[in-house]
């Protein structure tokens, strides 16, 4: 009993930390909505992994999620090269194709008599209480990877977000940078959907950094503050959802996050640009 509560809290904290870190850079790159597309797009991967393996093993599901998230980012960049469509159209098209595919597959296995499929609906809104100790090890590994990459690459990713033409002119590879950021996003999303679900995962990426951005324009404080908001709200949200029996975790966390953002906005009242 005690142990499972700890698992939940540590798991949520790890998700909060990684999402806030990666979210800061997707925000700076103005790619927040790609995070949304990725989080919807991993659904078919999760369902497929479940269909093939027949069990709800977090590692296998995450592999599936990674695979379809990666396919989605490939489709987005393929469409960007191949068509004249604007990027919001491309993102929305990719998102809806993958998500619809995922739902169709979900309804296929729900039509079948075997058990376990109920666990998959949890991925839509998240259910943090379903975590076990092995999942935690996996989360810790993924988070460590994300923290390490951020630590070593933050200057490059930050500079790319600010002025990519300059970085290309210095000989940095845009594709490689995009690949790294996309991979980190996919990993975080694959991890985070267990807590907040596919539908609201993008909020966990966007809202912490958005709140932090209202308070500061300096990168260090931006990262620090969004880590605080992200982790704190994830913990508070999952605590509330455990207290209230029937409340899904995802919306709870997002509400706490939004409340943070709104109170910061109200407290500041004066828009941050006008401050000297």
């Amino acid at each position: 009993m005690d142990l499972s509560i700890w698992i939940v809290f540590i798991g949520t904290a790890l998700i909060g930390i990684s999402a806030a870190l990666v979210g800061t850079f997707t925000f700076l790159q103005k790619k927040s909505l790609i995070g949304d597309a990725i989080s919807h797009s991993i659904l078919p991967g999760i369902v497929l992994a479940y269909m093939i393996s027949g069990q709800r093993n977090t590692l296998i599901l995450m592999l599936g999620a990674f695979f379809s998230g990666w396919l989605a980012t490939q489709q987005i960049s393929w469409l960007q090269r191949k068509t004249k469509l604007k990027s919001d159209t491309i993102v929305a098209a990719t998102l809806s194709i993958f998500f619809a595919l995922g739902l169709a597959m979900l309804s296929y296995i729900q039509g079948r008599p075997d058990d376990g499929q109920a666990g998959l609906s949890d991925f839509l809104f998240g259910k943090i209480a379903a975590l076990n100790i092995e999942d935690l090890y996996l989360f810790a590994t993924v988070s460590a990877l994300i923290i390490a990459v951020t630590f070593f690459r933050y200057r490059v990713m930050f500079s790319f977000a600010f002025n990519k033409e300059f970085m290309i002119s210095k000989g940095f590879s845009l594709r490689w940078n995009d690949f790294i950021l996309n991979s980190m996003t996919i990993l975080v999303v694959a991890m985070g959907v267990q807590a907040v679900g596919v539908v609201l995962m993008s909020a966990l990426l966007i809202i912490p950094v958005l709140t932090a951005r209202m308070l500061t324009y300096q990168l260090r404080s931006l990262i620090t503050l969004s880590l605080i908001f992200g982790t704190g709200s994830s913990l508070a949200g999952s605590y509330i959802s455990i207290l209230g029996k029937n409340i899904p975790t995802g919306p709870c966390i997002i509400m706490v996050l939004s409340m943070c953002a709104i109170s910061v906005a109200l407290l500041l009242r004066v828009p941050f640009k006008i401050k000297k």
Binding site: F99, L103, A104, S107, S202, I207, P251, M255, S258
Partner: protein, 284 residues
Amino acid sequence: MNDLLMILTACSVAIPASLLGVLLVSKSLVMVGDAISHAVLPGIVVAYLLSGTKDSVPMLFGAAITGFLTTFLIDFLRKKWRIQEDAAIGFTFTFLFALGVLMIAIFAGKNSDLDQECVLYGDLETSILDQVIVGSYLYGTRAILQLLPLTITLLIVIIVGFKGWKVWAFNPQFGSFIGIPIQAFQLVLMLLLSIHAVLSFESVGVILVVGLLVLPAATALQFSGTLARTFLYSACIGIVSCVFGVFLGKWINISISPLIVCVNGLLFLISIFVLPFKKSIRSS
């Protein structure tokens, strides 16, 4: 009979969606459309809790209000807080959607007919059971009868304001210069979008709506040069996908509304693959 009813119901959702989608795509407002279709959820829930029914009149009010709230909030964040557009959209709709889901979880009891899953997938199969029968004549499903006026209104709005829409989409500065109320066009579009989102969420769910909005329009755009043709093609693609989706769903026995979006997606991807052929036809 049921198949026909199901196709008609699906089409009644898909046709207005594909028309609205053309406007959204040509103005790069697709993600705003997506945001609105998520964000009407709290409006729906509040209306449902207050009125106790899924009756459409209070829901329409709820939708209109949340629809406006969404656009207002996105605009406010962008202008007053200088928050970049993608984050402003992402924040607004996840916040409102989470609010809606929480309200469902807390207030709408277990036995209500508003639950999280139906909000997500929608359920075309059960929505056709809601039939309107007067005397002994079947007039259609409730969804059809609700969406038909919207579709007609939409058509009138598009046809009457066609020139205005063109200016709105491609040359807004010129529009405000010659006195076309560009802002009003945008508001009308957002209003129609929210109403459509409310009326269709029982059949297709709030998340799949964006697929019905963007995919036919994006496909149509691959083939057509003018705005009028894009509308026409987009609607046709919407209808074709519904027909295929319904039969496919019956055949492999899975949920129909995601399938309709899948068929739409397939058509979209095919349209991109055949694009080079189209070019060579034109140049020769």
